[in-house]
Amino acid sequence: MLVAENISKKFAGVIALDNVKLELPAGKVTAIIGENGAGKSTLMKIISGVYPAYEGRIILKGETVQFKNPREAQQAGIAIIHQELNLIPHLSITETLFLGREIRNSWGMLNKKAMRRQAAELLEKLKLQVNPDCLIADLKVGQQQVVEIAKALLYEAEVIIMDEPTSAISESEVEVLFGIIAGLKKEDKAIAYISHKLNELFKIADHYTVLPDGRTIESGEMAGMTHDALIHKMVGREVEIVRNSNTVKEKNSLLKVSGLCLTDEKKPILKDICFELNRGEVLGIFGLMGAGRTELTEALLGTCPGLVTGSIVLDNDEVKFQSAGSAIKAGIALVPEDRKKDGLVLGMDIKANISLSSLPALQHSTGMLNHQSETELAKKYISALKIKTPSENQVVKNLSGGNQQKVVIAKCLATQPKVLMLDEPTRGIDINAKNEIYKLIAELAASGLGIIMVSSELPEILAISDRILVMAEGRITAEFNAANATDDAILKAAIADIN
């Protein structure tokens, strides 16, 4: 269906892609794997017309094509579904689907009926049971993704590129997505599937294309490949499996939460949350989308003071936080789920981001900022967390996902927290960076921090937690010790209340 040959692309003199080749056959799912910064996204952006300037050629259905912009690529039948969805929240599903290609009646007015009918048909085909007049803002992330796919189908796309489609959706939504992908395969669409989650790839992909460093590229059949072999191709070396020591630690209570409730507009979001966190412990919190995991971390950080009831005891002191500032001062820090939206000021440099939560401590007695100690602080964490950057003055926007995440962690650590909460700390980052972050979490726990790690990836939860809490619909539904936790038991507890 689509072949891209000898593709090269440079950014400001840095070679991002050097003479790579990609084939996307019809009726197959091709997994595209590679570390962040390896050039996957760049390659996809070239194919979908985002970057019109490149070397090499793209052949679509036997014809050489050259797209000047994403619109041309779209018209030629190439659709890309981005990791971060690009939908306009105030539009309805129908309006979204027909944006830019509205059907008009003979008066030149919008033919709403026809559009609504077609939209309903598409949604039915994709088994999305919502009204086409629903606003995008009212849909869950997984449903929004289905709308993006519907849009691609409406354009009669032949080539569909999905960039980390499961990074933001829950396990049950993943199943729905896989069903849709299987359907698309039957219609002979060529699908490129970019993901870091290897388990998924084994389920869904027919071919793989590995892009380890933007220069070499390897492709083959998925059948017969093993997990380790694929990882090996990806990083060029074996990945050490993360710790699972779970040494028994003496109980030394650091944080005790009891009867915590969060109610927003009379809707209970968190119900009677009780748990304890010990010094040096990694407490994993697992839950599906909407289970209230993120809300729990935010309630603990004090971002919604008026809505929270219950008691939080930190280091034997009953605390009540009125703002994130007071929580941070007391020793609670949060690495939020969405690092670009909630964690970083992308336009500022690494140094300013790392120091952002601890600036008052970096003042001279005159009230002026102490630039020297700020730089020292940044340098200290850049080397401690192995943040890959030419200098502390690099703008954060230009870092890879893994390094950005490390900057957020550094910002939290700079506040000298007692409790560090990490919400989906490895979302959208590559395996190497993931392992580094796991190692870091273990080290921090060993140094006496209490760590709360929220995640929707089971292997991650199982690998690094000492204890695991499972949440469903705003409650804690189960607690496991790492030793006796299994995938099945955890998942069961996570969906227990839903049905």
Binding site: A12, G325, P336, G343, A352, T415
Partner: protein, 326 residues
């Protein structure tokens, strides 16, 4: 990895407006021999000193991704308050009490008024989540109305022997308004570059949500910034009133536009988080030189507005082209 030149770009932009300014000066000097003289330079600097004061505050506000449309009206009200207190003092008929004001006292009252009005802007914006555009638009009308009430629609003139020194006097060979605006600029630069408040201002403009989760008290920073903007507008009001030896009820009309123009020409992004005080100063000088040059070249005032509009547009287009290079 994409290691572009983003870190250096703000400097580059500043450099560009500097080049534009130099070219502008050379161009005007070639056409008019009255332009490139010491007298005219001080003249221009004195004219723009009010705009520089206001624009320094405006820059801080815009850096937080806000805007302050009320500065012109606040300037008028504060000037009128100062003039009124200086000339008439306060009479309390009930207790038959009369309070007179010294020059310093009257000025302080004007500056406090400005800070309070700015504080009110910030309060409305942070407590009731009113968009800055709307809150300060309301203040534009409120402060103008209060000015009319206070002055009863007539200028308050003849403000005594020494008061006009602020707007017309010289100190060490430099006009006093230039001293004042210079000090304002230096303090504003220190705030943006050297203080925690400055860092918070950039952070909030860059990403408000991340700043909140980082423990920054967003409301406090915003209220402070709008109060500073009000204070600086009040300083502008005192200078204007002193220069004319009269508080005009219509003073400061459209000053917010010149101020926003200076900020934008100076390369500050209206979406916040990016920009510098020095850029704004250059922007204000460019507008001042342009005004002055066009007058010297006998261009009709109507054409001056057209030219100024195109310069603003050009500045933004160049700035956009720059940010696209990332």
């Amino acid at each position: 990895m994409d290691l572009s030149l983003t870190a250096q770009r703000p400097k580059l932009v500043k450099f560009q407006s500097l080049i534009a300014l130099v070219l502008l000066c050379i161009g005007i000097s070639l056409m008019s021999d009255k332009f490139f003289t010491v007298d005219n330079a001080w003249n221009v600097m004195r004219q723009i000193s009010v705009n520089i004061c206001i624009s320094a505050g405006m820059t801080l506000v815009v850096l937080t991704a806000g805007i302050d449309l009320s500065v012109g009206s606040v300037l008028a009200l504060c000037g009128a308050v100062t003039a009124g207190l200086l000339k008439f003092g306060v009479e309390l008929p009930a207790s038959n009490l009369y309070i007179g004001f010294t020059i310093l006292g009257a000025i302080m009252a004007g500056l406090i008024t400005g800070s309070l009005l700015g504080w009110f802007n910030g309060w409305a914006i942070t407590q009731f989540k009113v968009p800055p555009f709307v809150a300060t638009l309301a203040m534009l009308t409120i402060a103008r109305g209060l000015t009319m009430l206070w002055t009863k629609g007539f200028p308050i003139s003849a403000l005594g022997d020494h008061f006009d020194y602020i707007g017309t006097g010289w100190f060490l060979g430099i006009p006093l308004p230039v001293w004042i605006s210079g000090i304002v600029v230096i303090i504003a630069i220190i705030i943006t570059k050297k203080t925690v408040l400055g860092r918070y201002i950039y952070a909030i403009g860059g990403n408000e949500q991340a700043s909140r989760l980082s423990g920054i008290n967003i409301n406090k920073v915003k209220v402070t910034v709008y109060a500073i903007a009000g204070l600086l507008a009040a300083i502008g009001g005192v200078i204007v009133t002193s220069r004319l030896d009269s508080a005009q009820p219509n003073a400061g009309i459209n000053y917010e536009l010149d101020s926003i123009a200076a900020v934008v020409i100076g390369g500050t992004s209206l979406s916040g988080g990016r920009g510098t005080i020095m850029g704004t100063v250059l922007g204000a000088i460019i507008i001042g030189v342009l005004n002055n040059g066009l007058v010297l070249l006998n261009v009709s005032p109507f054409w001056q507005q057209v030219v100024k509009g195109f310069v603003i547009l050009l500045a933004v287009v160049i700035d956009k082209a720059n940010s696209k290079k990332d």
